[in-house]
């Protein structure tokens, strides 16, 4: 099935990227093209919503890693949400993102973001 990707701007430099399908050696270029468009806007937060991703190979991981490298340079953050267990396993094997930034649900991610905001306000970050 061809990969479909939608991008939603959430304001204040935050973007949600929602791929649907399998991200493999053939389809990852579709995701990469959308990510590169977003990166041109110097985002501060990139959220990959993986709810509808059933498979990812190293080619797909490389797109997320490219995003991470780019955002880290500008002090931004990449998060992944709604990650299915087998996808999470693959990302953890190659340590593409710190495990604390890979979330099984939006609720988990929101709790993390609230805690980050609290720390920033409290001067702890």
């Amino acid at each position: 099935m061809p990969l479909k990707v939608t991008v939603e701007e959430r304001g204040e430099g935050a973007y949600a990227i929602h791929p649907v399908g399998s991200i493999d050696s053939n389809t990852h270029t579709i995701l990469l093209a959308e990510v590169e468009k977003v990166l041109k806007n110097n985002p501060t937060l990139l959220i990959f919503n993986m709810a509808d991703v059933d498979y990812v190979s190293s080619a797909g991981i490389s797109v997320v890693l490219t995003s991470e490298k780019s955002l880290k340079l500008q002090g931004g953050t990449v998060l992944m949400v709604n990650v299915q267990p087998q996808i999470k396993k693959v990302f953890n094997i190659v340590q593409a993102l710190p495990p604390e930034r890979i979330f099984s649900s939006v609720q988990e991610m929101d709790a993390y973001l609230k805690e980050i905001q609290r720390k920033v306000k409290a001067g702890e970050m």
């Binding site: 053939n26 190293s58 080619a59 890693l65 094997i93």
Partner: protein, 140 residues
């Protein structure tokens, strides 16, 4: 009962996915669980995509032969290609513990392969590379 099936993939990336689905279908016939099927699909893709992307210097159509042999205890996946000599097991392991800005993007496929398959064996026979990968699993 251990059975075997053969699949052929042309050296064209879009050809991998349909064959991977057939291989997984073969695994499911033996009751292989979804987690193991995911690993098998991933291993197959990482090996074959590597061959297709880097193994051929001409524009000729090449055929990669995949043989799957399965029973309740394990799956053997044998991939044979006629690309130039290449032993993926000799590729240095990338350091995935490096921070993002230093982490290599290349080499992750073979790193994953080593992590998800239980045994890997390479040989060169004539003009062919042969990679044998074994996955040991629990019957579901």
């Amino acid at each position: 009962m251990r059975t075997s099936r053969e699949f052929l993939i042309k050296n064209n990336l879009p050809e991998i996915q349909p064959v991977a689905e057939e291989v997984i279908g073969f695994c499911r016939e033996h009751g292989v669980g979804e987690s193991a099927c995911f690993d098998v699909r991933l291993a197959l893709e990482e090996v074959v995509s590597n061959t297709i992307k880097y193994g051929y210097k001409d524009s000729v159509v090449h055929t990669i032969r995949v043989r799957a042999e399965c029973d309740a205890q394990s799956l053997l996946l044998e991939v044979e290609d006629d690309a130039g000599p290449f032993n993926p097991l000799e590729v240095p392991t990338p350091d995935v513990s490096l921070p993002a800005e230093e982490k290599p993007i290349g080499g992750l496929g073979l790193f994953l392969l080593r992590a998800i398959m239980d045994h890997l064996e390479y040989s060169r026979r004539g003009e062919k590379n042969i990679l044998r990968m074994t996955k040991i699993f629990q019957q579901t």
